[in-house]
């Protein structure tokens, strides 16, 4: 959809997702790696467990559809070529510590002088300004500071972060949103701008309920396993079944609850639940102590069935339960397959093809599917530095020798 827009991607793990999203939309995203390759290429998992910068599955996951050049932008010669590239770019995505690009003379103010239409987004842990801007962070420390960890996990153990690196995914996604807004506006004003994205702020906003509950009700919530606040009491979210887990909640939906008790009754498992008149028993008025005996009976019913059986019953009787898929379940799911979500990419260098998540969303008119494999280190040096910037083979060899590329 955005063919002929060009982005230079200088990011590490905090920002790789941003360029990946843009590449799916058709933007020509050029990953500018330091000579020898990005440090993020050393993040695992690795294909066949072999630690090698060309085999990082982490890197492949977040760089599909991009091109790659190598360039040392800290030295004068590298800076020169980078400036030339910046003149022809629409977007620069970077995630250096605050002020680092400015220190190199490549900050927004420097580059906008040579390309007034340039849009530059900076993705940093805490933002480019403010008292925390120089703090050292990783995904888990941002999750801790955001308040989300204090809500997640069991009382008898440490607070937990969300799975993998959601503060970085959020930051990369917000950065992509910001860039698209700025492009939209540029098509009217003709001007670029700088966008400052803080991963911390992104994950604070993901903790969308609790800061408000403190402000409005002076209530501090703590982690309590899988129990969710619902009116006066809490309800259980995760249930064991015969071969795995499902999620379901005891909510105020009398019709659904009648259906569930009906199913249980058919198997002689409803017991005292049969006599409950659900429309006269608002769940939100019950205490956790009153809720738990009801949940105990339901738990016995779930435990007797497999996740697929329960899903089938749920669809027939509208019980609104969901299977907790493991990774195999997700990859084999009819839903994602039928929608053509997975994209099979042949990696002959690994002797296999790898299925990767394909599109951002479905549209007949304008596909948002990943377009090519993740590039090898400097795979497009020849095309971009050679042909476009006009460097001869001798120049390139000499620059390589001098570790500029």
């Amino acid at each position: 959809m955005l063919d002929d827009i060009r982005a230079l991607d200088l990011t590490d793990e905090k920002g790789l997702f941003c360029g990946k999203i843009l590449a799916n939309l058709g933007v020509e995203v050029i990953k500018v790696e330091r000579p020898g390759g990005d440090l993020t290429r050393m993040l695992g998992p690795f294909c066949d467990g072999e630690v090698n910068p060309e085999r990082s599955l982490y890197w492949i996951a977040y760089n599909g559809g991009k091109k790659s050049i190598t360039l040392d932008i800290t030295g004068e010669r590298g800076k020169h070529y980078f400036r030339e590239l910046a003149i022809g770019a629409d977007i620069i995505i970077e995630s250096f510590p605050p002020d680092q690009l400015e220190g190199l003379g490549l900050g927004y103010n420097d580059l906008s002088k040579i390309n007034p239409g340039l849009i530059l987004v900076s993705i940093t842990p805490y933002g480019s300004t403010g008292p925390y801007k120089d703090l050292k962070a990783s995904d888990i420390t941002l999750a801790a500071m955001s308040g989300l960890m204090s809500l997640t996990g069991d009382k008898d153990r440490a607070p937990l972060r969300l799975c993998l690196e959601q503060s970085y995914c959020l930051a990369g996604t917000h950065a992509a949103v910001g860039l698209l807004y700025a492009l939209y506006e540029r098509s009217i004003s003709g001007l670029g701008q700088h966008i400052d994205v803080s991963a911390y702020e992104c994950i604070v906003l993901a903790n969308y309920r609790e800061p408000m509950m403190w402000e409005w009700e002076k209530r501090i919530a703590n982690r309590k396993g899988d129990r969710l606040f619902r009116g006066k009491g809490t309800t259980k979210q995760v249930w064991e079944c015969k071969d795995g887990y499902i999620t379901w909640n005891l909510i105020d939906n009398p019709g659904m609850l009648k259906n569930l008790v009906g199913c249980m009754d058919e198997e002689g498992m409803a017991g005292t639940l049969k006599s409950i008149e659900w429309d006269k028993l608002p769940i939100t008025d019950l205490s956790t102590e009153e809720i738990m005996p009801i949940e105990e009976r339901i738990s016995a019913f779930f435990l007797k069935h497999t996740k697929n059986e329960l899903e089938r019953i749920s669809i027939q009787k509208n019980l609104t339960l969901s299977v907790i898929n493991d990774l195999h379940d997700v990859m084999e799911s009819d839903q994602l397959m039928e929608r053509g979500f997975w994209c099979d990419q042949g990696y002959s260098e690994f002797g296999k093809s790898i299925k990767i998540p394909g599109f951002l969303f479905l549209s007949e008119e304008a596909p948002s599917r990943v377009r090519s494999k993740a590039p090898r280190i400097g795979e497009h040096n020849e095309q971009i530095l050679g042909i476009e910037l006009g460097l001869s083979k001798e120049d390139m060899a000499e620059l390589k020798e001098a570790k500029v590329i």
């Binding site: 982490y58 925390y132 069991d154 949103v177 001007l191």
Partner: protein, 410 residues
């Protein structure tokens, strides 16, 4: 498309028009972001079928009322509210006028609802050929789960997030937030902006189907590649990280106080050991390399906990930061709201709401140097009916009053 004048400091999306039929979580958060950045977003809602967030706590003074919900305020800033009873026979003509007015229609109703009231994409296209329509749902609008009905946890369960969250010896865990309602609205916004660019280039509109399940899979892509390439089906591992050690939250002085740490390279490991006064650990065969630390992680964590327990969480963070080691205290909501970083950068902005009074409102976490976002208070139910119907849709006052009297705007 836009009416924006160049060089002004107006938000980026000024002039963009959104007819927002969405409700609850995933839709309204998308249109909130667009509205905070200057788009004219009309939230089309009804007192006969209230957006459930208007009935979600907390309420101002504890009084349950559609105009008093803090939860609603937080996901609907900067929008206009117009009420329209979509069950009223005369409503469809009004809804069609919204489509003619809008660049984008966004909805997240149940499967088939928009079609059933004559507002499916095919209908919309007849009204306005280049309309952009975006649907947000749990599993997408095609495939065997097209009519899947779920709620907050469903996408976490279906996508693998729940399976990957929690302790290895315990059940999967779903955090008490609907992450799908956080990340998917951003993908819906990306879809809107990309479709606008596509329309500018081709003159064509389009229908876009955004699935919470799929967007959440995108956010854990490396785990799926590990499975696809290596057959390794990852599972939950508490706070541990295959590629960093130590990596977790460690207990500090006092009750239930914790500080999170993550050591990703050998330099950080050396600095970390010197902070905890155990430089002899740096080259100890049990801990020297990441591989060794992973193999002896229980012991490593016990040593660290012994040290962290003698300091407050702030002291641990401070000592680590001084040595350049990534660290952050586990904070509660009160501490977050009092954070000097957030306050200086104004992530939450205080605004006066007509019923609620002054309260904090979340603003977009992107700071634009030239076109800053501008957050306005969330609307009361039907607050902008007259403005929207007469000024935006161009109804005469007579027509407005007559439809009002017939109950079309309930």
């Amino acid at each position: 498309m836009g009416t924006k004048k160049s060089n002004s400091n107006a938000p980026a999306l000024e002039g963009l028009k959104i007819a927002d039929f969405s409700w609850v979580g995933a839709g309204p958060r998308a249109t909130k972001d667009l509205a905070d950045n200057g788009a004219t977003v009309v939230k089309i809602e009804s007192s006969t079928r209230l957006d459930l967030t208007r009935l979600s706590p907390p309420f101002k003074d504890g009084i349950m009322d559609p105009n008093r919900s803090g939860f609603f305020v937080h996901s609907n800033t900067s929008k206009y509210s117009a009420t329209l009873n979509l069950k009223h026979p005369k409503s469809i003509e009004v809804a069609r006028r919204f489509v003619r007015w809008a660049d984008v229609v966004l909805e997240n109703f149940g499967y088939g609802f928009m079609e059933s009231i004559g507002l499916g994409y095919e209908d919309l296209k007849e009204i306005k050929e280049d309309i952009i329509m975006v649907s947000v749902s749990i599993a997408g609008r095609t495939g065997p789960y097209a009519d899947f009905r779920g709620y907050g946890n469903s996408a976490a369960a279906l996508s693998g997030h729940a399976h990957l969250t929690g302790w290895p010896d315990r059940a999967p865990l779903i955090p008490p937030i609907a992450f799908g309602d956080v990340i998917t609205p951003l993908f819906a916004v990306i879809a809107v902006m990309a479709a606008l660019e596509f329309r500018k280039r081709t003159g064509k509109g389009q229908y876009i189907d955004v699935s919470q399940w799929e967007t959440m899979v995108q956010c854990i892509a490396p785990a799926f590649l590990d499975y696809a390439a290596n057959g390794n089906a990852q599972t939950r591992m508490g706070n541990r990280n295959q590629w960093a050690a130590p990596h977790g939250a460690f207990p500090c002085k006092g009750e239930d106080n914790w500080c999170a740490l993550g050591i990703f390279d050998e330099r950080q490991w050396k600095d970390f050991c010197s902070v905890i006064g155990k430089s002899n650990m740096v080259n100890h065969p049990k801990f020297k390399t990441l591989k060794a630390r992973k193999e002896n992680e229980d012991e490593l964590e016990a040593i660290i906990s012994d040290w962290t327990k003698s300091y407050t969480k702030e002291e641990v963070m401070h000592l680590m930061q001084e040595a350049g080691v990534p660290s952050g205290v586990v904070r509660n909501a009160k501490e977050v709201l009092e954070c000097s970083q957030l306050n200086q950068r104004q992530l939450f902005v205080k605004l006066e709401h007509p019923v609620i009074g002054v309260c904090n409102n979340p603003s977009p976490p992107m700071k634009f140097s030239r076109t800053p976002s501008k957050v306005r208070p969330a609307p009361c139910l039907g607050e902008h009916n007259h403005y929207v119907y007469t000024r935006l849709l161009g109804m005469s006052d007579d027509e407005f009053v007559s439809l009002l009297n017939e109950g079309v705007f309930e």
